[in-house]
Amino acid sequence: MSWGKLQLAGIALAALVLGTVVGRVSGMTNASSISPGRDDSTLRKLDALEQQVRQLAANNRQAVQFASASTARAAAATAVQPPPLAATRAAISESGEELAAPTEEQIAAGDRLVALADAVIASGRLTADDRRSLRRALAASDPERREATILTLVRAMNEQRLQPTEPGPFF
């Protein structure tokens, strides 16, 4: 229900009230002008109209509330959401839980990865074969040593102790 319609209904109600009051006042002075039956009918109409206006006002309030809720929902939908990974980590952090501890297989694979990286750095050259071996070892390793080993290899290259034999991605 629009505000304009509500205003019109309000004006109509005010006119009826005014008309009734005027009618009653004139009835006091001239009893024959409004019969008792006609007066009751006008009051019933007035009551009905008043109810209608109250209902319209209630509907209007609901519409305004609904519009506010829709706007809030739309704003929430367009807000930048954190990436799933960050959200997961935040949830883990908040709950106080730790990530799963590495398995014995992962620890053994991590040992092999570190040994392999040490050998590659000692050779001074990162070949295509080394990259393939490192890829396999990385996949089997535990996450902590995986990250530490990659960064160790990068540091060795930045310090010119290790040089790749061909261009391309790290692995």
Binding site: P143, R146, I150, L151, V154, M157, Q160, P167, P169, F171
Partner: protein, 139 residues
């Protein structure tokens, strides 16, 4: 001076002016940006992909990759100037991984790339710039 010679000189002058104006009107700024690797700690690595690719030295290169594996992801930027290699690996365990990945995703064959490896080998900074003044890669 004879009339014929004067007329010929005049036509050559007009043709030169027209050609000059035409070439001036199509030329924007063209700024080469060769590869530079500062090997000192915290040193920048930078180069425009077209300039590096088109340089006479065929050993030089610069680039980035976004690596996604079953065990995780990382952004890797690297460069080699024929003598020095420098790179940085930014794993997805770092809080600002998504920002680094966003920069690398903007990289194309004609972009300027700048990055700074941190002391631990991760990336302190990645800048990708696209602009009209960079030269395209030649075959």
């Amino acid at each position: 001076m004879q009339d014929g010679t004067l007329r010929r000189l005049l036509s050559v002058g007009i043709a030169t002016a027209v050609l000059g104006a035409a070439s001036w009107s199509v030329a924007g700024n063209r700024w080469p940006y060769p590869l530079s690797i500062d090997v000192s700690p915290g040193g920048w690595v930078e180069g425009q992909l077209g300039t590096v690719r088109n340089s006479a030295d065929t050993s030089k290169y610069i680039g980035c990759s976004i690596d996604s594996y079953s065990w995780g992801s990382g952004v890797y930027c690297y460069a080699f100037d024929g003598a020095n290699y420098k790179g940085c690996w930014h794993p997805d365990t770092r809080s600002n991984f998504s920002r680094m990945a966003m920069a690398v995703q903007a990289l194309d064959g004609d972009a300027l790339l700048q990055f700074v490896p941190a002391a631990d080998g991760s990336c302190d900074m990645i800048i990708v710039n696209q602009a009209s003044h960079w030269e395209p890669k030649q075959p």
